[in-house]
């Protein structure tokens, strides 16, 4: 009697786990990008809100040949980082932190955006989702296998004909070992695949911009920044351009990291003799010392070799200008009201002050705060 109940509960457990896995997979596929964007506090912007960022994304959309312009988002954080999301090139989004906009020049920003567009073009988001789902399935099956053995093991062995018992025991042990190892192997596979796609996105960035140094110096600046990104979990970490959970440079080199070590990425980009995929593959093999490259053969036939094109004029903006531009935009998006005082100060007033009278902190002039437009 107890055995039957135990078996029934075991099967029920398997059923529940399966249904949960199915729901998670479907929800991730259809709504994953929106969930992720709102979790990270991203605000959507239009062409007028931040012309430089929007133009850079549009330029990369043209260079990469994406069918549709992705949605552009800004995240209010001083930690520099960026990510792309979306299950197909037609439904893609790119998000960038205000910290990133502050420290990078136009060419460096273009390198980072090109890397994200590379993820979109190579369908990495969908690819990693599928790999994750498959790995989840493997882990689940391994779990069921162990449970099933525990549930039915005693019974079936006792009812087996004599003589087959020993072989059965060996198969049982091998099976258990595999089932214990499966989740670990699945994790290793997942992270290895994630790292490979990061290299490929770097290669795509170099090809689109024809200027690998842009991304290289951007990565250098980002990795030097001590600021940490909030609201990141292990689940969302793989989507960013640099591992936001990194503890130290060395920690990035292990098997459980979603991103390759930044120093290696920079060395490969700087070691490229051209901007094409073949050039990237050559530099990759030289820097890592591995015999097998990372770019698939089909990608090397077209887009194989391309010359590096240095950008024509240096970007004239300063960090202060870029910071002002990004933070002004965020204040406006949060419905702050802007008032130009006669003393030359631009006052940024939070929404609760609408309708009240305030004093300029510099000169003391009184201003009446109108309601924010739009």
């Amino acid at each position: 009697m107890g055995e039957v109940v135990g078996q029934g509960l075991g099967i029920l457990g398997i059923g529940v786990a399966f249904v949960i896995w199915l729901i998670l997979s479907v929800v991730s596929y259809f709504a994953g990008d929106q969930i992720f964007l709102s979790m990270s506090g991203a605000r959507k912007i239009g062409p007028q809100d931040h012309p430089v960022l929007h133009n850079v994304v549009e330029e990369m959309k043209i260079a990469s040949g994406l069918p549709k312009m992705p949605d552009v988002y800004i995240i209010d954080s001083s930690a520099p980082n960026a990510f792309a999301t979306g299950r197909s090139p037609e439904t893609a989004s790119v998000a960038v932190t205000s910290g990133l906009l502050r420290i990078l020049s136009r060419d460096e920003l273009q390198g980072v955006v090109a890397h994200e567009m590379g993820h979109i073009k190579n369908r990495d988001i969908l690819y990693m989702l599928m790999v994750g789902v498959m790995m989840g399935a493997i882990v689940m099956l391994a779990d069921f296998g162990i449970r099933y053995l525990f549930i039915t093991g005693g019974r079936s062995r006792s009812s087996r004909k004599g003589g087959g018992g020993q072989a059965g025991a060996i198969i049982l042990i091998v099976g258990v070992v595999l089932m214990i190892l499966a989740p670990i192997i699945a994790q290793i596979i997942y992270f290895t695949v994630s790292r490979k796609r990061e290299y490929l996105a770097d290669a795509s960035s170099a090809l689109f911009t024809r200027y690998p140094e842009g991304l290289a110096s951007a990565l250098e600046k980002i990795s030097k920044s001590p600021k940490k990104l909030e609201s990141v979990s292990r689940a969302t970490a793989p989507m960013y351009i640099i591992n936001p959970l990194r503890v130290s440079e060395r920690g990035l080199a292990d098997l459980t990291s979603t991103h390759p070590p930044t120093s290696q990425r920079i060395n490969i980009l700087r070691g490229m003799g051209g901007a094409g995929h073949t050039d990237y593959d050559e530099a990759f093999r030289k820097v890592t010392g591995r015999a097998v490259g990372v770019v698939p053969a089909s990608a090397m036939i077209s887009g194989g070799k391309a010359a590096i094109v240095k950008p024509k004029e240096a970007d004239g903006s300063t960090q202060l200008e870029r910071l002002r531009q990004a933070t002004d935009l965020l204040w406006r998006l949060n419905s702050y009201i802007f008032i130009a005082c006669a003393c030359g100060t631009k006052l940024k007033v939070p929404p609760p002050y609408a309708g009240k009278t305030i004093e300029c902190p510099h000169c003391g002039r009184k201003h009446e705060v109108k309601r924010a437009a739009g």
Binding site: V52, N55, E58, G65, S302
Partner: protein
């Protein structure tokens, strides 16, 4: 018997796949070409606004400003094929560069928000023209490769797919540094 049917089926499917790939590439090349056009027209639309903004500041170098307007009219009217068009576009680029160099001497104009926004738009549009050409050339390479390589060359020959030309005219002139004359 089943083996023969399966073989024929495989060949047909292979045919269709290659044919579709060729069609897709040819359409992408056409689309890429029209993208270049879109960006060129965008530049024409931005320039009158720029000229008006600069005029408001009464700069001394009137000829530089007029050169921009003239070059724009010539570029819009250019209809003599890709080479002529490219030459006209390069002229327009040179005049714009001269104008931006001149503006360096007028700090008020340089700080004008409208002017800065227009400068960003024009710089970006020139970048977009460059990237549109780059993408066009990339797609042309892909199409030509597919037309020439085995086994797709057989199907390309059967359905008369033609190689496309690279957008190379005018790049040599672009690499020369612009001469600013007053």
């Amino acid at each position: 018997m089943i083996v023969i049917v399966a073989f024929i089926l495989a060949v047909v499917v292979g045919f269709a796949t290659i044919y579709n790939a060729l069609v897709q590439l040819r359409n992408r090349v056409k689309n890429a070409w029209s993208q270049i056009d879109v960006q060129l027209k965008r530049r024409y639309d931005l320039i009158p606004n720029l000229v008006e903004t600069v005029k408001g500041y009464k700069i001394h170098e009137r000829e530089t400003l007029e050169a921009v307007t003239k070059a724009r009219q010539i570029a819009i009217a250019a209809s003599g094929g890709a080479a002529d068009q490219a030459r006209a576009e390069n002229m327009l680029t040179q005049t714009l560069r001269s104008l931006f160099a001149v503006v360096e001497n007028y700090p008020d104009l340089k700080a004008n928000q409208n002017f800065l926004a227009l400068q960003e738009e024009l710089t970006s549009t020139e970048n977009k023209i460059g990237f549109a050409r780059q993408y066009y050339n990339d797609e042309v390479l892909r199409l030509n490769n597919k037309i020439e390589m085995f086994p797709s060359n057989m199907i390309a020959g059967m359905f008369n797919f033609k190689r496309s030309e690279f957008f190379e005219v005018g790049e040599a002139a672009e690499r020369q540094a612009p001469k600013v004359e007053f």
